[in-house]
């Protein structure tokens, strides 16, 4: 009886501890690509640490900062990081590119530089339009479909309480009266069969007390199976998983236009570097999905035509296809609709040979052939598209220089005449000439309201998406406190992180030094996502300004990279010190 009781308790403890293990050890959100996901929503749906409630209490503060030896090129410095949890089992990592052909793998818990790479290729003279060097973030593979919105049950899970410490003593000569938990490679001769093994812990977890035992049961996945999911990796096929799966890869484009597939463990080239873009191009944050990596190019830097480029990650020779705008630059990042269609915003420009300007185009994800487009000469797009699902439709939202936000049906851009949006807002900018370009962000609150967050010239404007029988419109939500050149905000579990970048407006002929001299230190704010109320601020913690988009979040932390190469990590203390 006593032994049975202990067996049951031990098994239950193992299960409960397994759930707790998953929460405490490396689970949590990831930021796989710039703006977070394939739809570029900048939205982390759930988080175990960050919530409106937790941000109203003390504790969210600077956790670490680290100075990276990256030299800015004009005002291009550190890019937005992308993250990976569980690198070499327990390390949450950010992969951050630096303009001077650098890549840094940073331990998100500590700021420790796990590894760094430098691509030794010649760099051109930097200009504002064409800074040269690495002009965009790294990316990891992202799923095309977004994660499900929160269901109101909260994130995390808890981990029940198992029986705690305890002791026992045996009768003389009978040994200790503690039965095995099962899982042993053998049995005691003449003894009763061992107890049934405890149910395995949740995927990716292991029972408390059981260190990462390779071979304790089935051997860890190795070789091809473990490489499943990494395009171009040898022997992909089986579902690698658990602690046996490899750390994964990150995709980085160097200034010579060569794509590198870097292992996250040590930063080595795991696949032969592949020519992708013309050298010294200016490209936007890439995205990789369904074995293909995409970027948009702009400003014809390095002689690279403005366009959208795709490289087949799974093929050994990595063929490249492209679609030229024959017109304007691609504005910001390219984005994927949930059906995999590639979308890109095109800015103004002289159009030749049936090219496009002031447009949003839909491209076939494999061939990059034009499938659909929206164009309006008055719609000078200044933001990349962001995609959200409303009902059974993917909706594309993008901002124009005159301060409007346009909503388009991703399945029929601009309708039959390719120029009719589902909705066009009034101008959100008091002074249209100073409307700040930048990507939008979008999220959905618990009751189901869809929000669009628009960084304008001096604040974040939050708009609610109204759906009146299929007729979409944007209704005023809230406007944030004053911000200096805000960048695309990030939403984490209902909290909007708004970045006052501190970057001074560029004036005609201004050098990088001029802009830097007139800029002020960046300030990070946490706002309640439903009313914009300020919950927290970084105050004077950040001492330089944020020239670009080096601003991301994962696993309960928010990261900021400033022009001086300093990375800041804000979050709740994890009892590290």
């Amino acid at each position: 009886m006593r032994i049975k009781h202990i067996v049951a308790v031990v098994a239950a403890s193992a299960l409960a501890a397994g759930a707790l293990w998953a929460q405490a050890r490396g689970g949590g959100s990831e930021w796989l690509t710039a703006q977070g996901d394939a739809q570029r929503t900048s939205w982390i749906r759930t988080d175990a640490a960050i919530s409106v409630d937790s941000m109203t209490k003390p504790g969210f503060e600077l956790q670490w900062k680290v100075k990276l030896a990256n030299q800015p090129r004009h005002l291009n410095g550190l890019a937005q990081g992308v993250t990976a949890n569980g690198v070499t089992l327990f390390v949450p990592m950010s992969l951050v590119t630096g303009s001077s052909n650098n890549v840094y793998a940073i331990d998100n818990d500590t700021g420790y530089t796990v590894w760094q790479r430098h691509f030794d290729t010649p760099l051109p003279v930097a200009t504002a339009a064409c800074p040269g060097g690495i002009t965009a973030a790294a990316t990891r593979l992202v799923p095309v479909a977004p994660p499900a919105p929160p269901d109101g049950r909260g994130g995390g899970g808890g981990g029940g309480r198992g029986e705690g410490y305890r002791g026992s003593v045996g009768e003389p000569g009978q040994g200790v009266p503690v039965e095995q938990r099962g899982g042993g490679a053998g049995r005691a001769a003449g003894a009763a069969p061992p107890a049934a093994p405890a149910a395995p812990p949740a995927s990716g977890a292991r029972a408390a007390g059981a260190p990462p035992v390779a071979g304790a049961g089935a051997p860890p996945a190795r070789g091809g199976a473990a490489n499943a999911g990494i395009p171009g990796a040898p022997g992909g096929g089986g579902p690698g998983g658990g602690f046996g799966r490899p750390a994964g890869v990150g995709y980085v484009i160097a200034s010579d236009g060569v794509l590198h597939v870097l292992g996250l463990q040590l930063g080595k080239d795991l696949q032969k570097p592949a020519p992708f873009l013309p050298a010294n191009a200016s490209w936007s944050d890439p995205i990789a999905a369904s074995d293909t990596l995409y970027v948009g190019t702009n400003q014809r830097c390095g002689g690279a035509p403005n366009g959208v480029w795709a490289i087949d990650l799974a093929a050994e020779n990595k063929p490249v296809v492209s679609w030229k705008t024959n017109g304007g630059s691609v504005v910001g990042s390219v984005v994927l609709a949930t059906n995999g269609t590639l979308l890109a915003a095109i800015g103004p420009g002289s159009v030749t040979a049936g090219g496009y300007a002031n447009a949003i185009v839909a491209l076939d994800p494999k061939t990059l052939q034009l499938k659909d487009w929206f164009t309006d000469p008055s719609a000078e797009f200044v933001s990349a598209p962001v995609v959200f699902t409303q009902g059974d439709k993917d909706i594309v939202a993008a901002a124009t220089r005159d301060g409007r936000v346009l909503l388009l049906d991703a399945g029929s851009l601009g309708g039959v005449n390719h120029s009719t949006p589902l909705y066009a807002s009034r101008s959100l900018a008091a002074d249209a000439a100073t409307f700040a370009p930048g990507a939008l962000a979008t999220w959905q609150d618990m009751p189901g309201t869809r929000w669009l967050l628009v960084p304008t010239n001096g604040a974040i404007t939050a708009l609610k998406v109204s759906d009146d029988g299929g007729r979409l419109s944007l209704q005023p939500g809230w406007v944030s406190r004053d911000l200096v050149s805000p960048v695309t905000p990030i939403i984490v579990n209902g909290v909007v992180f708004a970045m006052s970048s501190g970057r001074a407006a560029a004036t005609a002929g201004a050098t990088a030094a001029d802009v830097a001299r007139r800029s002020s230190p960046a300030v990070l704010y946490a706002l309640n996502g439903v009313d914009g109320k300020e919950l927290w601020t970084s105050g004077k913690t950040i001492t330089s300004f944020l020239p670009g988009r080096s601003f991301w979040s994962a696993t309960g932390q928010v990261y900021v990279g400033t022009l001086d190469g300093t990375l800041y990590a804000f979050g709740f203390a994890m009892e590290r010190k």
């Binding site: 410490y165 026992s168 045996g170 001769a189 071979g215 602690f243 994890m574």
Partner: protein, 528 residues
Amino acid sequence: MRKLLVAGLLLSVPTVWASDFLMEGVDAARTGWVKDEKIFTTANVGGMKLLWKIKLDSTPREMHNLFAPLIAERVTTPQGVREVAVVAGVTDDLFGIDVASGELMWRKHFDTTFVSTGRGGGTLCPGGQTAVPVLGQTATAGKYTIYAVSWDGRLRQVNLADGQDVAPPEKFMPPNGKPYALNLVNGVVYTASAQGCGGVPNAFYSFDLATRRASAFLPAGGGLWGRRGAAISPEGVAYLGTGDAPFNPATKSLGNAIVGVRLDANKQLQLVDYFGAPNANWLFRRDLDVNVTPISLDYRGRKFLVGSSKECRLWLLDRDGLGGDDHRTSLHTTPLLCNDAQAFDGKGVWGAMAAWVDARGTQWVLVPFWGEVSKTFRAPVEHSRPTGGGVAAYRLEEKAGKWQLSPAWLSLDMDLAEEVVVAGGVAFAYAAGEDATQTIQERAWNEPGGARYGGGLDAGAPRRIPGSRYATLHALDALTGKELWSSGTQITSWNHFSGLTVANGRAYVATFDGMLYCFGVARPAAAK
């Protein structure tokens, strides 16, 4: 007969031959200090030579094979009085060796009640005999009993002189676990287990030889895998660190902590005290187990406990109140010595520390570590900035009314520094030379063998054995860290979770290939 044996055991007295090495870590407190070594000195250790080596017929399991020997200087054997070494082999073997000649005197292979299914448990759970035995001196001069835990979990009692059982095997703990080095105090054998191997709960275990009662205490905190097993204080408290689990006393979860237990009158282990570092749950998050056997030491009227972990810092604790009122406050916590990366494998403190007092009365703590020394660690005397591992020495000092551990010296670079044993003012340390990685190592597309996608867990022997190198024994001046002697390339194999023995002018290292090496200096005539 049994009653007589027990009576004899209860009459056991501390060793009278001070240069005996009766247990892993030298003594119950696991100081690693051979206090009365008569032969080794800093002056003569430089002349150390390989005296003999012997290949023992031990079958390795995973990455385990032989453990470090235990030594009794004057054993009454059928061949006369001999200095005898006993070596445990992982596949349930004991080997008795004549130290003078290096010849095998006897071999004992345990019978077993455990039937293996043949399903391996990997490097972390090799099965077999995983605990270094302990020698008990009986009331009869020259007669010693070997206490060992065999694969089937039974306690063995074997005559050191001839390898014969002196008592039938006793049921002790569940089979197929992974117990660590045995301790023996006041007629009680102690051990602790880890990794949940064979489904055996991670716990302290005790066996009272007089009453034949076995007891267990489960801290609910993951494995207890300090290399030298539990350290036992003069107060009879057994201390050891725990591994993977949250530290949350409210739910009675003592993960990543140092736990102290003691037998009650009913011979049951009871919780006495515990310490959870302020960052205990960080240690859990990163799998930085408290994997080091702490050292119990008394100094200037104070009762100290010194602990460490894979995180690679030291905790100085007061045994009169482990961690203070909140169980989380140390007397002193050092900055990181190594493992800036806070990696769970290949870095940190994995072996066993030593503590000794020099002629001037200074208390020292010597810490072997794996991997790069921390960028922030500085010692007044540095013989290198180690990249593969090394030994750091600290002085225990009272400054402005507060006790602290102050860095004193840093050794030369070592290939994974393991256990430290101090004898005659010489700090012996060995570099294990094993492949200590536990993840598949990434390899670029253009390196030999082609691309390898790394980072996934694979602690298995098939991957690590080919990457293992060779062990090296180092002799350092314990006051300065200066290297006085090294085995260089004389040892041709490596070892994994083995140990180091020093006694009577001889130092012993056993390796994975089944070889036991004995290095030594000439003994003065008076010591022969």
